[in-house]
Symmetry: C2
DNA sequence: AGGCTATTTTGACATATATCAAGTCAAACG
DNA sequence: CGTTTGACTTGATATATGTCAAAATAGCCT
């Protein structure tokens, strides 16, 4: 299951990488000299703040920069003709947003803040230039892109072969893990998104999501208090998604 | 709809790029000097042949090279614990396979030939090195990776929000377009995959796929002769997927 | 060709999830 | 402190797709 495929040792390495590196955006094991690191930091010194509902970019905007999330969270979505929203991703601190637009030069989806958030802008042209000079940065950038491919394919797998409750279990495990990576509890989740948004992301209706939460609670798997979820039986959730 | 988002002018550019370039793998508008092109060709001079069912790589194999498909077609898949196969992609000539493994160093899915096929091996380390020296190659490589992200997100959209017949319509349009890019008919398709494989890719059962084909035929949208599909009403198929 | 096998189609029925419709709850606001 | 508003839950029912089974068709080998 790619949605949730980071093991314990890898997590530890990630944590170290993040704390070494002021740029949480490059939250994968990075291997740069202090000098190289300084050049990278210089590139991304523009930090910006957003509040709930602010757009980081809109569909149709010209692509200029990637963005690294420092704090808060964003969602990406596409709007269908009829106005329905489809959520394509939830982004948390340390993650990079905008990779899909490299191929098109124009953003094809939009990104909005789900709470007060800060991002670093990473001008693509400069980043590309720097990564030509620093091989380990180049490798790093490739890994970030490839990781996004793996993540998306994980969701394809989930949408293509899992049923509602399995999808939700995978979602919760994924949230749990991303929480843990950032040093937060793996069992106490504060979801930033509504049932509607979760459903949209998982290809389900909000009622189905709600019922699944209730059912998990009845089974003693989780404790639900609105958007505060406590995971009571991680192993049993893992079984549900087959790992 | 990202699954199917290449317009006519772009198609023309692609066609040109392909014919200029012996390396069909880099089948996007490329802007290299003859010298640069020569260096690239040199890198990828190992060509290999595969026949139906041969593995290009297996899950667990160490990642070393990307592969560019020259002729034939491949599928990528993951095998679930219980032995069920889930198809994650169909690859056609000019396309690059293996991008997901850059982030892991190890292949997490497997790729098999669906017919007699030829590929060029592109050793990743050499390609990365060369792209550090040739900015437009670097840009190109980024676009290829980003394009894969867009493709995967298109499938997420499709799996998350479309019903069976809409998915199949999107699939047929996608096949049609990829056919057309390579100078083949946009309306006469010879599918290389079974109903089971199509279903696996689209998150449907083979019976559902079959019924959808039959229904499309009843409606006069297509003509079905086993795996030979003739599209009779492209515009109406496009309406079905909303574009 | 003829026969064998795998693939595809079609039908009848089961079931998961969507849909529609009330309710409940909680935060926000006067 | 009551009212309002949006989010969430729960129930009853509809529907799309899955499941199981059989027949038809196509591809393949001798």
């Amino acid at each position: 299951m790619a949605l949730n495929d980071i093991n314990q040792t890898e997590m530890a390495r990630l944590r170290v990488a993040c704390s070494n590196c002021n740029l949480r955006e490059l939250c994968l094991p990075v291997d740069l000299t202090p000098d190289e690191m300084a050049r990278l930091e210089e590139l991304s010194n523009q930090k910006r703040s957003y509040t709930t509902g602010d757009y980081l970019y809109r569909s149709g905007d010209r692509f200029k920069s990637l963005h690294a999330i420092r704090s808060g969270s964003f969602k990406t979505r596409v709007l269908h003709e009829d106005g329905r929203e489809q959520v394509t991703g939830f982004l948390m601190p340390g993650e990079i947003i905008g990779l899909e637009a490299i191929s098109t030069d124009v953003h094809t989806c939009e990104a909005l803040a789900m709470e007060d958030s800060e991002v670093c802008e990473l001008p693509y042209a400069k980043l590309a230039e720097l990564s030509r000079e620093i091989p380990s940065l180049q490798r790093h950038l490739h890994k970030i892109m490839s990781r996004e491919i793996v993540r998306d394919q994980g969701i394809m797998l989930l949408l293509g072969s899992m049923r509602a409750e399995e999808r939700l279990a995978a979602f919760l495990l994924n949230m749990s893990q991303r929480n843990a990576i950032h040093g937060m509890s793996a069992t106490q989740l504060r979801l930033r998104m509504s049932r509607l948004e979760i459903g949209s992301y998982l290809g389900l209706k909000l009622e189905t999501v709600s019922r699944a939460f209730s059912h998990f609670q009845d089974e003693g798997l989780i404790q639900v208090k609105a958007r505060a979820i406590e995971i009571l039986a991680l192993p049993r959730l893992r079984e549900m998604v087959g790992k």
